[in-house]
């Protein structure tokens, strides 16, 4: 599998570390029901057979966390974008 790193170019997936679902948002720890929200965030997954947004870390490259759109049935990668856009103040 080759991941099109926006900085490094296309690279073999073995240079990356995988973290999974990138559609999840860390809940507000101060909110009511925070424990429930954190449970869902940490443990529950849609786990789709098909289009999947997921985190890959280019550990042996530019050290960016990338949001990769990949099909879990075919492994085809539609896009990879940086979690934090370089040079842009967030």
């Amino acid at each position: 599998m080759r991941i099109p790193c926006p900085y490094c170019g296309e690279r073999d997936a073995h240079e990356f570390a995988y973290l999974g679902d990138a559609t999840l948002t860390r809940p507000d720890p101060a909110a009511a029901e925070a424990e429930q929200a954190f449970h869902d965030y940490v443990y529950l997954r849609d786990n789709p057979a098909g289009a999947h947004e997921e985190w890959w870390y280019h550990a042996n490259g530019c050290r960016q966390w990338l949001r990769v759109a990949r099909d879990t049935r075919t492994h085809a990668i539609a896009a990879a974008t940086a979690a934090r856009v370089s040079g842009e103040p967030a």
Binding site: D12, Q36, V42, L44, P48, E54, H75
Partner: protein, 416 residues
Amino acid sequence: MRYSFLSLLANGLSGQSRWTPAWRDAAPKPAYDVIIVGGGGHGLATAYYLAKVHGIRNVAVLEKGVIGSGNAGRNTTIIRSNYLLPGNEPFYEWSMKLWEGLEQELNYNAMVSQRGILNLFHSDAQRDAYARRGNAMRLAGVDSALLDKARVKAMYPFLDFDNARFPIQGGLLQARAGTARHDAVVWGYARAADRLGVDIVQNCEVTGFLREGEAIVGVETTRGPVRAGKVAVAVAGSSSRVAGMAGLRLPIESHVLQAFVSEGLKPMVDGVITFGAGHFYISQSDKGGLVFGGDIDGYNSYAQRGNLPVIEDVCEGGMALMPRIGRLRLLRHWGGIMDMSMDGSPIIDRTPVPGLFLNAGWCYGGFKATPASGWCFAHLLAKGEPHETAGAFRLDRFRTGHLIDEKGVGAQPNLH
């Protein structure tokens, strides 16, 4: 037909003409007491024990393809009960006990072969961790032995003891562990369940659930609706998809695990060996093929195939451990879809949806669990409460924090 020397003899003399189907190719009836979704080892074992132990025989196993065509037919055939945590160990030992009498019970030779599993360690810390595990096994009444380097060498003199990057210091042995012929397990359970009246329905894919209010009262299938008192799901890599039809999100990701077999060879590896300094484990089948594997590829996948980095990683581990295998050849590799749970341990539980029961999250350890998984799932379905050895496999443990994390890597399925 009961299998025996006599049946073989009679058929041999009659030109193999008298054999009858091992199980009926059933068509779905309109309704059952229990529907089991998934005709793998776990589903078929559940059906068998429902019928045999609990007398519930109005049962259907619905399989979208042919039975045993998922992970039951796609694993490295290892059986063992060398677990650490109290949530796991008694369950896997119960499974081991069931394996030990399985063939006579089913009248089917599943080639259960207790030639031992040896987990090698390469550092003091690893030794201590294995000692902890071996002692936990003893506390559960399970056999375990901590071998030093000399005893490992006596068992497997061809391992790399002299030039290894991570020298072998010893190993944890479970002598009762071993392998079983994976397909035969499926066929044995299918045949035995069929004889007790269970309908095994192949080429029947579940496409949705029938509901009355909140409760699930049956399934929609490619062969029409089928009603049931209880619906039990045992679909391994498809767990999230099937649960999704009932509106449930699970603490599960589907990952690909590759497995490998070499060309056939005269006997060279007697038991199962696992490498402690890399991702590699190996055994040898009765046909002579070396059966081996390593880590999962590490990303969500439903593709049933993996990639070269893991293949190379496994073979590097193999060569590091057994440098005599350099000229042996990898014959085939394939991938299975693992339902990787968030703590690496399984789920056998009712779900928040009335009428729906779940057997899932086996990660890459489902095969060895087959008999106990079936036994305990059947128990839950029949009695409405968990079997004593499966009491920890609750779906709500992630909420309560009663995790069963053997590896201590947390909620990251690709690391389990």
